[in-house]
């Protein structure tokens, strides 16, 4: 349980003509996955590394639960924050088990004590301990290595997890699987996760919230739906692919396309309010029904038809283009 607040954070590197991070302010609420999305050079990694003080702001503050990070000893601070990077950075001379228990071990915890947690973590990241505990990093595939990297970051049970393009070097299939597993784990773990990516689909898939950065500045922060539905400017719209009907169908919720005519009693099938437009469309086609009831918390709040979906999309497109 920890929130992260960036307050007027600016970072300048010597010799650079503009700040790497330029007066960024926003808050990541506790237990949320916040995606830092931007092109390379947008300052997303620099921003991330200021949370665990691998770099301190030139001005402004990073606060964790309201406490400025600069008031904490960096080593102590980092041990309470999980850190996962794209290159994984496993130690090739240590076994999987020793890699995972590294943080507990540097604080002097005996191996026997951390053993059960290491095994639980390996199971959590989908690596059967009996098979993988004694392996060395050179004996792992890229996806397996990153699973170990994730387990290692979770070993000290940190409230915050910093992930710097952790799936960036994995193939598309493995990446997709890892994304789904991260979501599954998050349902158990409830970490505050700050996740750097340049992959829009990844941001839309994983993010409770997405912060879009460009040239060190925060362009927009909001939920995936907000970014798709109401991009702050042309850059965000282009970045998000907000013009793409497929992407809208894929990520926008069905609630944006409710038929104005209210509930129709003869609609036999119902769907929940968090269903995407794409799923709703497929259900309509499969069920051969003219309309579907949309329910929220078991209570009908409206219905959708092919016509209402079509109208909403047309409305949305003209809206964002205006």
């Amino acid at each position: 349980m920890a929130s992260i607040t960036f307050s007027q954070v600016t970072k300048r590197f010597p010799g650079a003509d503009r700040p790497a991070v330029d007066t960024v302010s926003f808050t990541v609420p506790a237990d949320e996955i916040c995606m830092l999305l931007g092109t390379s050079g947008s300052g997303k990694t620099t921003l991330l590394r200021m949370v665990n003080r691998l770099g301190d702001p030139t001005s402004g503050q990073v606060l964790i639960d309201g406490v400025p990070t600069t008031e904490q000893d960096p080593i102590h601070l980092r041990r309470g924050i999980g850190y996962v990077i794209q290159q994984v950075g496993l130690f090739p001379h240590l076994t999987v088990e020793d890699n995972v228990r590294l943080v507990p071990s540097i604080t002097g915890e005996p191996a026997a004590k951390s053993r059960p947690r290491v095994e639980a973590l390996l199971r959590l990241v989908g690596l059967p301990p009996a098979e993988y505990r004694r392996r060395y990093p050179s004996q792992l595939s890229g996806g397996q290595a990153q699973r170990v990297g994730l387990a290692r970051a979770l070993a000290a049970d940190p409230a915050i997890l910093l992930m710097d393009e952790p799936f960036g070097s994995l193939d598309a299939i493995t990446r997709g699987r890892m994304q789904q597993e991260l979501l599954r784990m998050q349902q158990e773990l409830h970490k505050t996760i700050l996740f750097v990516t340049h992959d829009v689909d990844e941001a839309l898939t994983l993010g409770d919230r997405i912060a879009v950065l460009a040239e060190g500045r925060l362009v927009q922060v909001g939920t995936p739906v907000e970014l798709l539905a109401t991009p702050a400017n042309a850059f965000v719209r282009r970045l998000m692919g907000a013009d793409s009907i497929v992407r809208q169908f894929e990520y926008l919720p069905v609630t944006l396309a409710l038929d104005a005519a209210g509930v129709r009693p003869h609609a036999a099938e119902s769907i929940t309010a968090d269903t995407t437009l794409l799923e709703a469309l497929l259900r309509l086609i499969q069920s051969e029904q003219p309309a579907l009831v949309v329910e929220e918390a078991g209570r009908p709040i409206g219905h959708v038809t092919l016509g209402s979906i079509s109208r909403s999309v047309r409305r949305h497109r003209s809206g964002v283009q205006a």
Binding site: L54, V88, L140, A172
Partner: protein
């Protein structure tokens, strides 16, 4: 057949024990000095690219100087006997250790050090738990090369009055006597082999299991390599 050898070895002037001790000192002291100097210098320059470039090239150059030439060149300053021989052999032994120390330290993946820092390892812990275990095998290989070179070159020390097995070899060559030649050359070869095998064992011992060659990635590692994530253009 063996009579000349027996005669040579029992001749009190041969002083096999004495020459053996001399030769062992002639090898051991330069090895220790070369390890200390090579390591310290390597650690000092490894993180400074320009210095590392200069130092590694200079020491590469020094390797090209024949030891006898070095002995002759330092004779006016260091004189003859044990000290200049130790100096020359130390100079000979430094480059492999120095170069391997630099290469070893530079071979440590920066991402790994970044991960270590990010996890809250203190600089001292990064050194002792990450960098040293990874660099040690490379340095040990350098020490082995260096030590074998020193042992194999030390007979030349007999040219400047430092004694050892080189006395036997030179006497054997110049007097056309096989006994001292074979005894001298044989002892040098034997010692070089002992050092080679001994230090190879040390090298294996300090090489963490995960870094040993011959460990093929397990069959479970089936996921393919880097994919092509959708990138923003």
């Amino acid at each position: 057949m063996l009579a000349p050898f027996r005669q040579f070895l029992t001749d009190p002037r041969t002083d096999f024990a004495g020459e053996t001790i001399t030769y062992l000192r002639l090898c051991a002291i330069p090895i220790v000095l070369a390890v200390v100097i090579g390591l310290v210098l390597g650690v000092l320059v490894a993180r400074r690219p320009l210095l590392a470039f200069v130092v590694s090239n200079l020491s590469g150059l020094a390797r090209a100087i024949p030891t006898l030439a070095f002995l002759a060149a330092v004779l006016p300053y260091l004189g003859i006997g044990f000290t200049p021989a130790v100096a020359a052999l130390t100079a000979l032994g430094i480059p492999p250790i120095l170069l391997n120390t630099i290469a070893g330290l530079r071979g440590v993946d920066p991402a790994m050090v970044d991960a270590a820092r990010g996890m809250g390892m203190a600089p001292r812990q990064i050194l002792s738990r990450v960098e040293i275990p990874l660099v040690l095998p490379v340095v040990a290989a350098g020490v082995r090369t260096s030590a074998v070179q020193i042992v194999a070159t030390a007979p030349l020390a007999a040219l400047i009055g430092a004694g050892g097995y080189g006395d036997y070899i030179l006497a054997g060559i110049n007097l056309l006597r096989p006994a001292p030649l074979v005894v001298g050359a044989g002892c040098v070869a034997l010692l070089a082999l002992l050092v080679e095998f001994g230090l190879a064992a040390v090298e294996r011992a300090v090489t963490p299991a995960g870094l040993r060659p011959g460990r093929s990635p397990a069959s479970a590692a089936v996921e393919s390599g880097p994919g092509t994530p959708a990138r923003i253009t």
